[in-house]
């Protein structure tokens, strides 16, 4: 999924609702959230986004964020935000590669009888 517009609280709420519905409908096991179109993101928006991705993880779906702009990352680092265990990457292609790897690792772990959390 790709976000190419300015983030607003109402928009994030709608996004969460649409995302969870889509994941449930498709039965996806992973998703890449492309943030390359977002040039402004404050710590409150980021916290909201992290909560959404935590919800996605609880549904057993691997979330990956790709394309965070340099300025946004720089701001977030200085804002000392909580990244949690978010998987991030430079762009969409890398995001898909990362997702494939994460899913493959998950299958192997299940095969070895190890519970691997998303």
């Amino acid at each position: 999924m790709s976000i190419q517009v300015e983030l607003r609280p109402a928009m994030l709420e709608q996004f969460e609702s649409d995302l969870l519905a889509a994941l449930q409908k498709t039965g996806s096991r992973g998703m890449v959230l492309d943030m390359s179109g977002v040039s402004v993101l404050d710590k409150h928006d980021f916290a909201h986004l992290v909560r959404i991705l935590e919800t996605v993880k609880m549904m057993g779906v691997f979330p990956v964020i790709s394309g965070l702009q340099a300025g946004v990352v720089s701001y977030l680092i200085d804002a000392d935000v909580e990244w949690g265990e978010l998987h991030t990457c430079l762009h969409l292609d890398r995001g898909i590669e990362l997702l494939d790897r994460l899913l493959a690792d998950s299958v192997q772990a299940i095969g070895r009888g190890v519970s691997l959390e998303a």
């Binding site: 404050d42 710590k43 409150h44 946004v72 200085d78 804002a79």
Partner: protein, 431 residues
């Protein structure tokens, strides 16, 4: 510490009144920063931290603003974000993102409160790029309403419209009630008029029937009767005719006054002389009922400028009522000068020791089309219009009339008019 050589140009400000104010600030600040050619990286950082601060609870409660100011150090342009709020702000956060942070700068255009954060534009040279067009475009970035501001304005407009709609509905309800009341009043007046006409038709037909009846009788009997035997019937015809004329005159006068087309003929006359002539006119009527008529009038009462005919009509009506409803009693007509609101007036009082008026009837005394007491009217005669007509005539003369009475003991009718009811010269005025 502020560089001493910085010159500032205020580009505008963003109010913090709304919850969504930070979104408007983001939008405008980003546009200004892009126009000043800050790198994308720097724009994200600057706008991010300003957005974050605007969302602090202490700022969201504030009714202040964030100003966006252009700075010029003579070499390069720069951007100052002025958090003009009387609250503690995390200055150290701003210091991570801006070149300099000042606290409560008093330099024009800053207000001396809050925090001002300055960032220099490395690529925009003051002499090369500082043009009128740039300044105009930068100001437009700040003044053009953002989506949030437009939505907020739309919401305010909708609320205002809803309120006006509710007010309008309330106004319509009130007006409908008023119209309903006016309709009921009109219906009531219409019913009263119909009632009056029904009564009056009997009053008008009775003397008219008498005229016709006695005339017919006379024609039949004329050959047999002696001339002196006709006098009785002729007197009855005359009396009925006079009564009918009096009725018709009263109705016509009242209608004329109600229609606003009554003429006033103002003239100048001596009050004592006027009253003396009135006494002479009324004396026979008083003697007829064995009443004593007394005139009490100051010799130096002076001159009145008013319609003497209308005034005479009013006083004759009051005096004839007093004479009619009293027998073997004393009726006094008093006249004296008075002052009202610094102007000279004359007051006339007609005092009788007659039957008086019950208290319950007092409120309808001057009401037209309302019979005081039908049995009294039929016993003593009259049209039932006299007092209503008198009140309206007195008002036309610029005065007022009032009454006091005790049932069984007598009444006092008071009539006051200004000395100068009209112009000095006799003139006919259509009202």
């Amino acid at each position: 510490m502020e560089p001493a050589t910085l010159h500032y140009i205020d580009l505008g400000h963003v109010s913090l009144q709304l919850d969504s104010s930070y979104l408007a600030l983001r939008h405008k600040l980003k546009r200004v920063a892009d126009m000043l050619q800050f790198e994308e990286h720097t724009v994200s950082r600057l706008v991010g931290v300003c957005s974050e601060l605007c969302r602090l609870p202490v700022l969201r409660e504030s009714d202040k603003y964030v100003g966006i100011v252009l700075a010029n150090d003579g070499v390069s342009l720069g951007l100052v974000v002025d958090f003009a709020v009387d609250a503690r702000l995390p200055v150290e956060r701003l210091q991570l993102y801006f070149d300099e942070v000042w606290i409560g700068s008093k330099e024009e255009p800053f207000s001396g409160v809050g925090v001002q954060a300055y960032k220099r534009c490395p690529y925009v040279r003051a002499k090369q790029h500082m043009t009128g067009n740039l300044l105009h475009a930068l100001r437009d970035c700040v003044s053009d309403p953002s989506r949030e501001e437009l939505m907020s304005q739309l919401e305010r407009n909708n609320k205002e419209l809803a309120k006006q709609r509710d007010d309008l509905e309330q106004t319509v309800l009130v007006r409908t009630r008023e119209l309903q009341d006016a309709f009921e009043l009109a219906q009531s007046a219409n019913a009263a008029k119909s009632h009056f006409l029904a009564n009056m038709s009997h009053e008008l037909r009775t003397p008219l029937n008498a005229v016709i009846g006695y005339s017919g009788l006379l024609i039949e009997e004329l050959e047999e009767l002696e001339p002196q035997e006709c006098v009785g019937e002729l007197e009855k015809i005359l009396s009925a005719s006079r009564h009918l004329l009096q009725l018709i005159d009263g109705i016509l006068d009242l209608s004329k006054i109600e229609a606003g087309s009554m003429e006033l003929v103002v003239d100048r006359f001596e009050v004592p002389t006027f009253l003396f002539e009135l006494q002479m006119t009324m004396q026979p009527l008083f003697e007829k009922h064995a009443n004593q008529f007394e005139l009490q009038c100051e010799d130096d009462l002076g001159i009145l400028f008013t319609d003497s005919v209308k005034l005479r009509q009013c006083l004759l009506n009051l005096l004839s009522n007093a004479a009619k409803f009293a027998a073997n009693n004393r009726v006094v007509l008093r006249a004296f000068s008075s002052m009202e609101d610094g102007e000279p007036w004359i007051r006339f009082e007609v005092i009788d020791e007659g039957i008086g008026i019950p208290e319950a009837k007092m409120q309808h005394l001057f009401t037209a089309f309302e019979q005081l007491d039908p049995s009294t009217t039929r016993r003593f005669g009259g049209t039932g219009l006299g007092l209503a007509l008198t009140q309206r005539l007195v008002r036309l003369l610029g005065g007022y009339i009032s009454a006091e009475s005790e049932h069984g003991k007598g009444s006092t009718f008071s009539l006051s008019i200004p000395v100068m009811s009209g112009a000095y010269e006799p003139v006919s005025m259509e009202l």
